[in-house]
Amino acid sequence: MATDYNAYVTVEAIEGNDDGPLAGKTVAVKDNISTEGVRTTCGSAMLDDYVPPYDATVVERLKGAGATIPGKTNMDEFGMGTTTETSAFGPVENPAAPGHVPGGSSGGSAAVVAAGDADMALGSDTGGSIRCPAAFCGVVGIKPTYGLVSRYGLVAYANSLEQIGPIAPTVEEAAELLEVIAGPDGRDATTRAPPNADATGEDGASVDYASAADGDVDGLDIGVPTELVDGADERVTEVFWDAIADLEDRGASYHEVDLPSVEYAVESYYVIAMSEASSNLARFDGVRYGRSGGYDGNWNETFAQSRKEGFGDEVKRRVLLGTYALSAGYHDKYYAKAQDARAWIQQDFDEALDEADVLASPTMPVPPMELGESLEDPLTMYLADANTTPVNMANLPAISVPAGETDEGLPVGLQFVGPAFGERAIIRAGSALA
């Protein structure tokens, strides 16, 4: 039961249409995605009684496709975490590896899928928050190309980096869910029609993703970025190379590639994400929604009181560090350099993908941590995002698929990265493994 490992913040069924491609399916929704009339907490005490007056675009599309939403899943507060331990509603336990974290920040979404409590789920991925929990829980997760899926109704953390995406037991099911949520939205000006869109779709921009899940990797050319393998735990790399050998047996080939810029990905990612967070989370002042700071002091004092009570430690850390990085005298040193790193990472990926169909690496450099292990040391937790953050910085699509288990039985995920709007390529590659 999902309640045994604390995967849901709110259990309340939202019924979709009678008919549609997802009729009869349950799709759990991460609790930072707005659901009309059903509270949406972002895993934060700040929003513990916030009830959105409208649906996110992806929720409208789920309902239109006939899905039933069984509840809202637990998550790191505002998406800020790699373990789903920073939630104000308590940590989630990994159903695939008891005693361990499920990964984060979409840990509740991956957990309910892994345990079979929901058929599929939606997560959001700012620096790995779909792929990490998918890898740790032994399920499939897709982070779409930036702009493929509408963010309307997603409570913003770092808008230039994040995308909503599917989590499912198999690549084919994840692709079916992606088909439902993808496509331009007039309410999110950063969405665009994929260049390979099939114009017969209802919105004139749908792509058939599920048919790419045919497991055919004959002739597939895989680039393996050495920087993303060398730093990983041996227990993880053993499983990774076994999976690559399996793909070779089925007609794929691989070559190593160099992405020198990714050595700076985690640092630059955190500077950009924290900076955007410090701006986005300025809206939480306890006046229009959220925890009130009272009415006794002046404006600044009561806002500061609201945010003291409403935000947890990790959110405070990121808001403060983001404020610091953007402040006079430090902007050029941190934020401007991080944007240079982002442009460099984009160039490196573009070049590597000119010479390969997809890139492959371990999704996470480590197996799932034990519950409580990383809470006191935020920097160590940030470094676990080494392989996932570069993809968000480059705006590219990526999929995490189960590749096997360590000797102790801990799930290991393999990540394929594709060119912009190359979702079919990563779905095809991933479907050979799951």
Partner: protein, 110 residues
């Protein structure tokens, strides 16, 4: 960090880089927290001071990143203005901790 650093940004940043991030002290953490409108407990300040030193030290690596010529293909996304239904006043106020006469109620401004 200081409020007037903006007038001499480069020099200040250089000085800080040379000094390393030992320069993070509790007063700076309090100052940033006040800029961000986050009240901190005393033990939060101590813990954050220590953690920020570690994290900002790791960010020093960004000094090695070369200047990159960007080849962004950015395009404005425009559309004609269209009227459509928005939230009712009641819906917009529904999550407010306190309202008065159909308005949000906030603290005193000064």
């Amino acid at each position: 960090m200081s409020d007037d650093a903006g007038t001499n940004a480069d020099t200040d940043a250089d000085v800080d880089a040379e000094a390393g991030v030992d320069a993070v002290d509790p007063e700076e953490v309090r100052h940033v927290a006040s800029l961000a409108r986050v009240e901190l407990a005393d033990d939060d300040v101590d813990r954050f001071t220590e953690q920020f030193a570690d994290i900002l030290t790791s960010f020093e690596a960004l000094d090695e990143v070369p200047e990159i010529e960007r080849e962004e293909e950015l395009a404005n996304v425009m559309r004609p203005d269209e009227r459509h239904e928005g939230l009712s006043q009641e819906e917009a106020l529904a999550n407010a901790p306190e309202t008065e006469d159909g308005y949000f109620k906030g603290p005193r401004v000064s």
